[in-house]
Amino acid sequence: MDLKKEERYYQPDELHRWFGISSVLFLASIIIMFANDYIREWKGHQRAFREADVALTRANIESAAVDDAVKTELEAAVATAEAQLAADQSQLDELDSLKTVAEGEFYWANMNFMGTTADLDEARYLLEHGLTERHGEMEARKHFEEVTAKVKLFKLQSEGFQAEIDGYDAETTTLQARHKKASSEMNELLADLSVFERKLLLIDPEAMSMANRVANVMRDLPVLDFLAPSIKIQQIIVNDIRDDVNFAVVPKVDRCTSCHLGIDNTGFADAPQPYTTHPNLDLFIISASSHPMNEFGCTSCHAGRGRGTSFTSAGHMPADAEQAREWEEKYDWEPLAFWEEKMFPAQYSEAGCLKCHASEPTIRGAEKLTLGLTIMEKASCFGCHQIDRFDDWDRRGPNLALVSGKLTKEFAFKWIRNPRSFRHNTWMPAFFNQTNNSSAEDKRRTDTEIHAIVHYLFENSGDVQLPSTVRSGSVSRGQALFESVGCQGCHVIEPEPLAIETDLDRMFQRHGPNLIGMGSKATPEWVYTWIRDPQFYNPDSRMPNLRLTSREAADITAYLTGLTNDRFDGTAAPALNEDALADVAFKWLVKNASEVDAKSRVDEMDLNEQLLFVGKRSILHYGCFSCHNIPGFEDSKPIGTPLTLEGSKPTHNLDFGSVHEIEHTNYNWFEAKLTNPRIFDRDKVKPYDERLRMPNFNLSRTEVEAVTTALLGLAKSNVHADKMADGKMDDLIINRGMTIIKDYNCQGCHIINGQGGQIVDIIGDPNLSPPNLNTQGAKAKSDWLYKFFKSPTTIRPNLAVRMPTFPLADDQWNDIIRAFQFSAGATTTFETPHSSAGKTNSTFVGAYLASKDMGDCAKCHVMAGKNPTNARTDWAPDLALAKDRLRPEWIVDWLRDPQAIMPGTKMPQPFIPSKADVEFEGAEEYFPQAVIRMAGDDEALLESLRDYIYSVGEK
């Protein structure tokens, strides 16, 4: 039945047309889809990289190419050997057939031998049985002897055939040897080349066979490339580092290497991005490094979106505005929306180290991050901002409980108002005259507040008993002492700022304040008392005691107080404005009371009460107690935002105010805030006490960048404990001790774990400087070290610099000693005592090696109190101290190669005679018999020298 058009509910023609159009559209969209997939960004990179890799491999082949002459020569040798082998072939065949016959004979003899061995066991049993039963033993013995003889015969036979086989083998090997040697030489010569050639076969179409060439093209064709493409996503899955993607925590998947293809290949060091080799393969990426790519991925350190496969979706972030513009043009880049953990711009990449290295006081290889953390320690950021890492740290600023004994009110006022007018590089930040409180009205208020703060501090200060006079000292002697006794381990005297960038060494050198202008700050009586015993004035001070005599202290006092700051002295503090004081008091009171009540409360207070009230409110407001111990504020809580996870704070939680000229990212916010802490108050109208009050630390560009790196590092992390750098007990022990070592600036004077010791540069000669503490834990006996720390004695009579006495508690000393021990891998606490007693021969040989003609130890070393004859600056430690001080194993290590332990030391490697040294005509005249016998056994000789050293000073 044929329906007419009119009878249908639809129009077939119309429908056909639409069907036609839609199938064309579908087809087009499928084509577009495949095309779009084919031209994806990372695929382009892989194609380009392959070309570059082919070029590099070809070049490698060229450079691995072998000198033609050498190759021809070897080829000729191989050919000759082959010809010889062919000529010898009949001989080889004959040897082979002879061997086959001999093997048959051997088999026969060997089977007989094994069979008769079993018979022998039987005969032995029968004999033993006969002997026990006392019956038939004669017969049994006869049988036993017969079988024994048979075994012997067959054994001889089989051994004979085995020797024959070995003989044929040896002959064959000799005939083949020449050829084997020639071809292995050839292979060795071409080893590198063949590696590259094999690689080229895989990647270079021109080097491939025709079939491979076709397959090579086919596998990457659009549509077909779902089968087995050579161009494909590369990804690294790291199970124990996880990404928090809201409501789910998933293993890290990094696809970065889909484009960063040369990241582990040293050949691409100068290649353009994204093919560039990682700049630090010693530490990252390759399997021999401590952070292999397969175990750590990429975004674990760099942050960003590892699953992203395009430039933008990977979360790349530019280093600066210029790079942002460049990227926009080149890659159509924009900041990745809805992904908080965007990649760290290159200058902050060390931020990623912190999450796994959190307990390390200095993170090696992450100098910028370490600098940032060190600045945070010095600037005492944790005073106002709670940061887990610094939770049990003490206040960093001077204790103000006895301030009236140290400063004048005038000094305190000028100092608080502008610390840098007195000391250009102080860590005390500036609270006043900042961009949000510098109007005339603000100054009227802030000057009043400073007066009140000073009043509060001095009213609440205790008294300190200072001597009424100090004996007069010599400025020149004082300066000489200052420059030699060790003050410069922590202090500088730098009247003007230096045009050098901050780094860790510079921080070590400036651990304590820059001591300019001391004469304008404190009285000679205070300085004298302070340097003789810092803990007398401030029990919490970390300044150690140099055990100065009264004369030395007087000399240094004369030198330091002779340094004055005339410009600072020349300005006067303004007088207190009593009206302004009443106004400030009123403004505080009216916050919690009615205007009338506040007014009457102000009127009720006398001047002293008003000053104390405003002083207390101001100290609370500005948070002075965060860094300084101030009576009345012992338990006050930090006033700043906690920063423990500041790096993970969503950017929209950071108030940019009306600052629009910077890109709204967390690092831009941190940088702006650190450069000018009040910047986000710009163009805002706020009551005074609601304005931003973070003080200004006048950080340089380098310092701002370093602190920003550290802040970015303070972030949430999902790293499994096994992957943490400090996951092991040993690391924690080392880190705990090293934290104290850094806090007390031991590295100002000593090189510890390869870092610090800047005072060596000032003194000039490492031999006249505090010792390098390399291997200290393996070197010193722990009980001796503890005694030395508690009460330092002279070890090195040639040093002018002295080890001070530090105000540390027993548990801190224990932490330090254990950190030394664990760093040196010498962790035993209790040890068998070593002694030279009874080792007459060893001690005798040692004494000979130490004698005048050999090592001449007494030339430099003090020997049980007997001083050497040469100049004192050349003297070395008394060898009689060694047995109490040094671990016996370490002495041997030290003697073996002193330079390896203390680079630059004057201690020479002692003469340890080798066999050749004692094998000359008349050696007996030079060397005792015992020495000649031991010569060549270096360890025994070094031990004998050690035993001799242990005997020095023994009765």
Binding site: E51, S63, K852, P908, F911
Partner: protein, 239 residues
């Protein structure tokens, strides 16, 4: 394609072959007119073996002006212009002798990888202590029975001191090169660098006085088989 080209040029720069020495030479002398500083007498009384080795007082060799108005012990070497060239290391060792409690030679050069034979011709104990920075510093004792020890430096390095801590006056200056074009001026103040390939070089003259007689450099072009000549004048710089 662009990348390919970039790679080929990059790699080509990396491939450098061993180049043969040339036929040219550089000769000249180091002029020092006028009187040099007075040569200090070394007191060797501390070790009788040392003082017994000399009949006449020993003078310090820190500045030696020759009779013909030239300067001795100036280390002359090519300091630039040899980029990419490689040179064979001589098998002959350089000899450093401790004789009469002084070092002979007083200033010397050696190629990286070449053997230095350190001799002790004295009947006393010396220690030999290098102050090298690029090469690993060494410091070992040489009692009178030890007459010879060998050492090699791995890397090129500017002149550094080697000294004896037992006899503090003993000092010698060593420099390590990665090419063979260096020499030290003799009693006539003359120097010759031989077998120099054709090219333009910077030649450096260095004296141990450091800031007092700062090192000088001169440019020179050597054509193949020809002798180029140049003179250094240290007179001006001396105060």
């Amino acid at each position: 394609m662009k990348i390919t080209v970039r790679y080929i040029t990059l790699i080509a720069a990396l491939i450098t072959g061993t180049q043969l020495w040339g036929q040219g030479s550089i000769t000249g002398s180091v002029i020092f007119e006028g009187k040099g500083p007075r040569m200090r007498t070394i007191k060797m009384g501390a070790d009788p073996v040392c003082s017994a080795a000399h009949t006449e007082p020993v003078k310090s060799e820190s500045v030696v002006v020759n009779g013909n108005g030239t300067l001795k012990n100036v280390l002359v070497s090519i300091s630039a212009g040899l980029d990419g060239m490689k040179f064979e290391i001589p098998e002959e060792p350089v000899i450093l002798d401790q004789n009469g409690c002084t070092y002979t030679p007083h200033v010397w050069g050696v190629m990286a990888g070449q053997t230095v034979e350190i001799r002790n011709s004295d009947a006393t104990l010396h220690n030999i202590h290098s102050q090298s920075k690029q090469n690993r510093a060494f410091n070992f004792a040489m009692p009178k029975v030890v007459k010879k020890k060998n050492h090699t430096f791995d890397k090129s390095e500017d002149p550094f001191i080697i000294k004896c801590d037992v006899h503090p006056w003993m000092r010698t200056w060593a420099a390590v090169f990665d090419h063979p074009f260096y020499t030290v001026t003799d009693d006539t103040g003359k120097f010759t660098l031989e077998n120099v390939p054709a090219g333009t070089y910077t030649v450096k003259a260095w004296h141990e006085s450091g800031k007092k007689l700062p090192a000088q450099t001169l440019e020179v072009t050597v054509s193949d088989g020809q002798a180029a000549s140049l003179d250094f004048d240290f007179t001006r710089t001396a105060k």
